[in-house]
Symmetry: C2
Subunit: 356 residues, 2 copies
């Protein structure tokens, strides 16, 4: 028979409430009594208040749910995702909460089941499309959600932490425009539903259903459109996954052509690093023969001299967690926009003569 609050209370000779207060409301009883209670609890082997009972009574689960599409290993290969998770875990710690991972690896039915049974106070969803079935499952539980995707039709109950994806991407592209680049390629994952690594034709970035990729491509497009470069004259490369390897494979399609672009704009650093790999294999010099930009500023980007857009994933995770556990009453502050910064490094330079 496991000891409970009552067991301890009886042993000390006080009421159950007092023992509870010893653990949860120290200012409600004298320090000596509190010490005495702890001592007896230790002797009896009472492990402290049962988390399930506490959750039930308090109406708080004491954990943040984090949704992952695809497999866990895939998620962890993305350094940005890992940093984000770290930020969320910092917020969780501050609010005395845990971090419950909910992988959506199996089929839809299993995933919905997992979401419905998770003992959490809300979900931080990351890299999960807004229209994903899992978000409906969360909504139907009435739990708050923090997304990283901005929507016009967002209801007031949806929390948001993100960046101005489109504006930031536009800044990166404007930098290349200023350097004289006019013949360019855009590289992105999630461009088309098929998830292939190949050049693809899409009528406009508005066709891209995946939020982050779509917004960034729109930003790229905006800057070049302003400089008079038509969408039809831009090569769009699709990568099957957000990985260095797929970035390199996709870049090959553009680099091995006679009219190779003078610059390649990738929607993530991982893809951009792949482009650098592809350049190295061909003996092409980044920033001279071909300029390359990334997005995120992961640690490897600095080492590789990659021009990119810096954003702070830890801060993003932290703010997400905080917003979830302690939502402000003011509707305006339920949507947080974090700053970004263009970091110019050696991978971008003036467009080579004769090409532009």
């Amino acid at each position: 028979m496991r000891p409970t609050l009552q067991t301890v209370a009886d042993a000390v000779g006080v009421s159950r409430s007092t023992v509870s207060n010893a653990y949860s409301n120290p200012d409600q009883l004298s320090a000596e009594l509190r010490e005495k209670i702890f001592e007896v609890a230790r002797k009896i082997g009472y492990p402290g208040p049962n988390p399930a009972a506490r959750s039930l009574r308090r109406g708080r689960a004491g954990a943040i749910g984090v949704l992952f599409t695809d497999s866990l290993p895939y998620a962890f290969t993305d350094p940005y995702a890992v940093q984000y998770l770290r930020g969320v875990s910092e917020a969780a710690e501050r609010y005395d909460s845990g971090l419950l991972l909910v992988p959506l690896a199996g089929d839809e039915k299993a995933g919905i089941h997992a979401v419905q049974n998770a003992a959490v106070d809300g979900f931080c969803i990351y890299c999960v499309p807004e229209w994903h079935w899992a978000t409906d499952a969360i909504r139907s539980r009435g739990l708050p959600i923090v997304t990283s995707e901005q929507h016009d039709d967002d209801r007031p109950d949806v929390l948001y932490v993100g960046i101005d994806e489109r504006g930031a991407a536009r800044a990166a592209a404007a930098h290349l425009v200023a350097l004289g680049h006019r013949q360019v390629a855009f590289l992105s994952d999630y461009v088309v539903p098929e998830r292939i690594t190949a050049p693809v034709h899409i009528a406009s970035p508005e066709e891209v259903r995946y939020y982050t990729a779509g917004e960034r491509l729109r930003g790229f497009r905006d800057a070049f459109a302003e400089a008079g470069v038509a969408w039809a004259d831009i090569t769009v490369l699709s990568a099957a996954a957000n990985s260095r390897e797929d970035g390199a494979r996709a870049a090959a399609y553009a680099l091995d052509r006679a009219d190779r672009p003078t610059a390649i704009l990738a929607v993530t650093d991982l893809l951009a690093l792949g482009v650098l790999d592809a350049l190295a294999v061909r003996g092409l010099r980044p920033g001279r023969d071909v300029s390359v930009t990334g997005f995120d500023d992961i640690p490897e980007a600095g080492a590789a001299g990659l021009t990119t857009i810096r954003q702070d994933p830890i801060e993003r995770g932290r703010r997400s967690g905080e917003l979830l556990l302690d939502p402000p009453d003011d509707p305006a502050s339920r949507r947080v926009l974090l700053p970004t910064e263009l970091v110019v490094r050696a991978s971008t330079g003036p467009a080579p003569h004769g090409w532009s």
Copy 2:
């Protein structure tokens, strides 16, 4: 007012128990009634049984706790750890449980607090020394633990999933002995408490307090001792962390000497890959000028042609999770020893003449 089982029961006109059975014991009521209950529940907006209440009543938290020392990001840089986690999550899914991460990032007090409040049915501890304070905190809660460390004095309540660390390491070393290597260096993290990257002097591997590193070094020692190589004649290199960079830095101390070793045995693949990097920088050929062995067989090891000991981290994680959630009555099967295999690749070859 949020709807509960009772709300639904009243709306349908049945008892609370029947609604509960609809969700949890489908064979206890007719299919038509079950459908009707679900339909009404959907209409009312009942999100399904409250996880906290269910946990309390069932006496099962429905989650596996995973303890991480250090920071989350550090843990996720280790590909082996990520694979392990994936295995645990597979087991969790099978038993309808979640995965609660408990990072021990903060100070000890915060960590103990986190462990005590985690709503879990037990912990899988990985890369956490057996004597760590956190394990005491778990024990005092009376929760089961799955460790990966073998101990003579283990109590029967401790579950174990691991490999024959010492025997496997011995096999790798024996392979090098057979190739004629006699002048060697061992490379490991956690050798000395100071966590430095430098050659260190220790009287014997028995001094190493960290289980995995200690056992593997003992295995290396065993094989070379049998071949007549004294411990005093072996260089021990300490790496500050289990990373490629520290592996390369540590290897430099052995490679830049006149009497450089003909082989370097690392206790992890990550460190061994660092050694290969150090060789490359110096124009030394792995498997010809210097042989290198690793441990774990992470994916990168295959690509790099690294001779190593293969073990299956996913399987290890899965078995750990299964053992935790469904411990067998038979004490013997509460300790699982997984197989390992020596994988010989290009990074090892005969000892060069004139050195051995």
